[in-house]
């Protein structure tokens, strides 16, 4: 009886463990196979050397170029730059509160056939002294990083 109970327990432990492993594996496969799940970050310089295919979902980031913002009804056009290269971005909707020219920004969307990046979302930050890590790195790679004075 004791022996039997023990075997049942072993089996149960095996089932639990096996189930966990299997489900985790499924999660992992879902993650790596479905292209929509992963969104790559590209800096303007990355895109200058290796342009992204039209329609592929991406995140781009950098600084919003001064005086580049143009409004037309609900649509806003602006330029994101790492101070070496530039991307034209178009967004329709209400911009986050901390969106400002000269500030770091991350936009998620895809390029249209004319080469304009159409953003679905523009990421808002809670903190204006905050610099998205990708943007900071993009600026560093472009040799345009001003040091840590504004990243606290």
């Amino acid at each position: 009886m004791v022996h039997k109970a023990k075997r049942a327990q072993k089996l149960r432990a095996f089932l639990i463990f096996g189930g966990l492993v299997a489900l985790t594996l499924i999660a992992f496969i879902t993650l790596t196979t479905l292209e929509d799940n992963l969104v790559f970050f590209r800096s303007p310089s990355d895109l200058a050397t290796k342009p992204a295919p039209v329609g592929q979902k991406l995140r781009v980031g950098g600084l919003v170029l001064e005086d580049s913002m143009m409004r037309q009804d609900l649509t806003v056009n602006f330029i994101v730059t790492d101070l070496n290269n530039k991307i034209n971005v178009r967004y329709t909707g209400i911009l986050p509160d901390l969106f400002r020219e000269g500030q770091g920004v991350v936009a998620e969307g895809a390029f249209d056939p004319s080469g304009v990046f159409v953003a679905e979302t523009v990421l808002a930050k809670h903190d204006e002294t905050y610099m998205p890590p990708e943007v900071a790195e993009a600026l560093k790679n472009a040799g345009q990083w001003q040091g840590d004075q504004d990243a606290r």
Binding site: N37, R59, P133
Partner: protein
Amino acid sequence: MLVELGHFALILAFLITLVQGSLSLVGARRQSDYLIGVGLKAAQIQCLLLTLSFMALVYAFLRSDFSVLLVATNSHINKPLIYKFAGTWGNHEGSMLLWALMLALYGAAFALFSKQIPLGFRARVIGVHGFMSLTFLAFILFTSNPFERLLPAPFEGNGLNPILQDPALAAHPPLLYAGYVGFSITFAFALAAMLYSKIERDWAVWVRRWVLVSWIFLTLGIGLGSFWAYYELGWGGFWFWDPVENASLMPWLAGTALLHSVMATARNGQFMRWTLLLAILTYALSLVGTFLVRSGVLTSVHAFANDPERGIFILLIIVVSVGAALAIYARAMRQELPSVGTNLISRESALMLNNVFLATATSTVFIGTLYPLFVDALGYGKISVGSPYFAAVLTPICVPFFMLLPFGPFLSWQKSLATQFIKPLLVAITLAALSVAVFWQIRPSLGVPVAFALLGAFWLIFGACAAPLARARLFETGWISRLIRLPRPLYAATLAHAGIGVMVLGIIGATAWREEVVVAANAGDRLSIGTYDFVFDGVQTHEGPNYLAERGSLRFLSGARAGDVLYPEKRVYQAERSQTTEAAIDISLMRHVYAALGETLEDGRRVVRVWLHPLVVLIWMGGLMMSLGGLIGLTARRAA
């Protein structure tokens, strides 16, 4: 002066934790009641000192003492008093001190309210807990000292990030931390149990209430945070699958699993190994959450300014404490544990399934949240994992989980018969199907996937209610008095499980049926959404205590609300030179009308955005029901 006193108290508390940790553990080994007594007292003194220290910081904030660096960088003379107070933990250093204070409060509470537990066990818990406090106080003193001075003191502070100047967010960190930190006691319990040469099941009996308390706080904290994001960020969303949000979801999922497995362990030692491991991992996930939020390694919409050096320190705390715990676990698991047999249809099996689902959900969220870190470390570039992943992996977990969930409370320990649940659950599924039919009448364009989701939500609600009603033998004489006298844990389960259904209902309403209108409007323009018509009456300026607001007016033209006005605002906080969007929400049980004001266009028109969120309030009501269920469970003497 008081600031120095606070700083001194903090250093003293740090030293006391050393006494608390070492004397308690030595006392436990030597079975010295005297040493153990000192250890337990030390936990209370540590708590007193940290309370003093925290009060000193609060005082510095209330008095706007800008000679303290932290106050100067995070506060401002003109800030309303409540936000001066809440501003104490609206920054990294202050929030870490709050974390340490919570840790000490739990330690002292344990020292005071655990007299029914044998002295040797109490000593082990309080000893382990002392060392956990030690690591955190070292972290604060060496990397994040809140009492650092700034000389000469400026006349004016930089102010608090205006987005944090909100009642919900003032209460959010204390609640969330009370949840996170509560699992430190659970962790200490597990270690204490494993420090004995033979593991007894008693620890699971004693730990149940502590798990519940932490879980209730965590549930409330997450709910409040999500509600804040909903109305303050002006996007009308309630959950974004953002790393910082996932950081709190992981310990919640693990904690929910622990809550269930500990019942079986407390009863007869079932799942002993698993429950011990889960207790360790739940706290580990709380620490990982803190690490993700505080180190800024992941891009998050909720990220604040942060410092990698601190991240490394927290990582070190995680590696050391969890590593040590797992080493003790590995050693303890070499002993033979009594094996308990059970039948397929039993409460035990139900709890096991619950844990399989919850553990899988935890690990999938974990993979999705940390995957970008691995990819980046391997040099494959920067990526982010978005909601499609979480929807894709969590749906196949939630569907069978929710289908099986109502069966759980019907099952008895050891062995159950299908006759116990077949009839009541058939009634429940019929009622659920009827409810979906009613919805189909109201919204003919429902669609099959949404109909199935609705069926699931109602199945959870009616299924949860079926258990107590069936147990009281509904409609047989005397059923009301039987219903009242049912064991409290059954009520707790009913309320919490029905809460999940209510929450699912809210999520369906807010995602499948939401409507959105964005217009550029002149004063006098009309707009409509759903069955509502509005007229935009333009924008007026209006002065708040420390901000200037542009206030738009949106007047209802038709229906029962005719004449009522919504006032969405854009606020400019002068001191902080930043802007916030204050949405205006017309709240009722059936729907929210959510209005936000955008910027002014060149031709003078104003961007106005209006959402209709049907049933959205149920999301947070469901969360409240779960917490309330937990509270009822807390008052019960036994688990089930």
